[in-house]
Assembly symmetry: C2
Homo-oligomer: 334 residues x 2
């Protein structure tokens, strides 16, 4: 690994860029399809429906309990493919690197990308690096694009959602948002909170061929309420959340109460919201609860005819309207 810091010359196409790519990126990400002498990677796709997606990552700080911007860049794009019912296979990686960033930190992040990709079963087959002048990019931004394959019989789309469907969540919410916020702000509160950032593939694979499964999405930016609004807007149906059923860990609850955040709007990076037929709730929940990190999976609400909005029954039995997120409560969470 080169020592020292990134300079503008590491972005110019010449010797330093070649060394940066060979010694940091290719060193960790090596695989048969990654050819740093080629302009594009030749990939093999097994039979099935092909899905293509992308995501960008600007989280601050770059490292936080439970993950870093590198692991997030792999999980984020793989999870977008997973919730569509696909197996992610190939990724591309863009790095926008700030002049002055230490090679040591960049190397650690790229190593994390490699480890995470391996654990998700994907290969990083192409990439690009750009270097930005000091003061831009706050360290590094990543963008990943991903290709996945979905079996022909899998059909997961928002249009499948029907009245009387139930809303399931695969685990407790708000951990990622709170962990990143605490890592960023020196509140003096730490505890054992860590991000839930993880692959959701075990959860999506377990249920994606279940005939009662209608739709899945990972509640990232904007949290569970934002997924509910997307559903209400796309289907014209009403969303009824059952407040007491929504799993929130005690420390997340405590931090949110002290600082005035609502966990329903906080990003998760390793959870799945699934919309399922009422008759499939128990079977799907028990499949999820048997998985690691799935023990708190819960039935948190229902879909119904009515004014297309999102509302929640509170602990005291009242109804609270959950408005669409407007101001940003917690920027740069992913």
């Amino acid at each position: 690994m080169p020592t020292g810091h990134i300079t503008l010359a590491h972005g110019n196409g010449g010797r330093y860029m070649r060394e940066l790519i060979a010694e940091v990126f290719a060193n960790h990400l090596a695989n048969p399809e990654l050819d740093i002498d080629a302009d594009a990677a030749l990939i093999n796709l097994p039979p099935g429906k092909v899905l293509f997606t992308t995501d960008g990552f600007i989280v601050q700080p770059l490292e936080f309990p439970g993950g870093n911007i590198g692991s997030l860049a792999v999980h984020g794009t793989c999870n977008d493919l997973a919730v569509c019912g696909a197996d992610p296979l190939y990724l591309t990686l863009n790095a926008f690197i700030e002049e002055g960033m230490s090679f040591e930190l960049l190397d650690r992040l790229v190593k994390s990308i490699a480890t995470t990709a391996k654990s998700c079963g994907v290969k990083v087959v192409a990439g690009d690096t750009k270097v930005l002048p000091r003061g831009e990019a706050s360290g590094v931004y990543f963008a990943t694009a991903g290709i996945g394959i979905c079996q022909p019989e899998v059909s997961i789309k928002i249009a499948n959602i029907k009245p009387d469907d139930h809303i399931l969540i695969s685990g407790p919410i708000g951990d990622h948002g709170v962990a990143v916020m605490l890592a960023r702000e020196a509140f003096g509160m730490r505890g054992d909170l860590k991000s839930d950032a993880a692959s959701v593939l075990p959860f999506t694979r377990a249920v994606r061929q279940h005939p009662g499964l209608h739709f899945m999405r990972d509640p990232t930016r904007g949290g569970v309420v934002t997924v509910c609004h997307e559903i209400a807007l796309a289907t014209g149906l009403q969303i009824q959340l059952d407040g007491p059923s929504i799993p929130v860990r005690e420390p997340v609850k405590a931090v949110c109460e002290i600082l005035g955040y609502d966990p329903l709007y906080l990003a998760c990076e390793g959870r799945v919201v699934a919309i399922v037929e009422a008759s499939s709730v128990n079977e799907i929940l028990s499949q999820w609860r048997a998985l690691p990190e799935g023990e708190l999976a819960a039935d948190i609400g229902t879909i119904s005819q009515g004014v297309p909005r999102v509302q929640m029954k509170t602990e005291l039995g009242g109804i609270r309207i959950l408005e669409e997120l407007e101001d940003d409560p917690l920027p740069r969470i992913c």
Copy 2:
């Protein structure tokens, strides 16, 4: 189109982000595969070899004579697929947008992405937007990833290159680098210089099935010399450029002489370097010269056994060693 400026809330996953995506991105980029309610796009791939690539774009200024960061983001990735012999079919788009950017400018850039994609025959099928605090991102950075299809019989790779092959260039060099530099710096020199940013597909399609074609690459960052170094490094062969044969427009030459740049190291964004068998030079050159922008296509050198380095015969008959680029003569050119 929304009026005013981008705020951090346009990146939070909620209402403003939804409006930004619908009214700017989806408005211009609409196509049957682009579903803003989905996490990933379902795409159809015709038979053939599948190629996957990505590129990032940080050019300053965002708009320059002959193009802008939006058109460049499409051409750059499509050209990487084209020089591998593929037809680009699908793109994803990441936008890292600076808080305070005007909607008017962003809309103009996204419109340009749409127009350019259409002219290249590609569809933007998925995307992501992030908003960065004022002072980062200098307006906007884009990243695009692309999928293309290549016919099974096309074989373009650096390993095909052999001693006695010739080096062809599809047009004059340095226009992009000089045009962007003049747009950036207030030198008071303008003239009619504009970037060569364009799709290279007409050039690659014309010759990619020619049995005498061994390799193609677009000389972007680092210019023609950097492509030659990549070849020398990968093949262990020597590169002999013939200085007087290399096409450089007079105004580019003039600006480079005044400011001390070497056009051989300046980025092109619409040219192709091809390595071909000696017996195919005339046929390939005449195919290129018949194309618009191809009239100055030229045979600019040869490959030979010898110390793997890049050297050039000058106008006066001397030999000049062209070193690998080290310091960045012109950062943020793409």
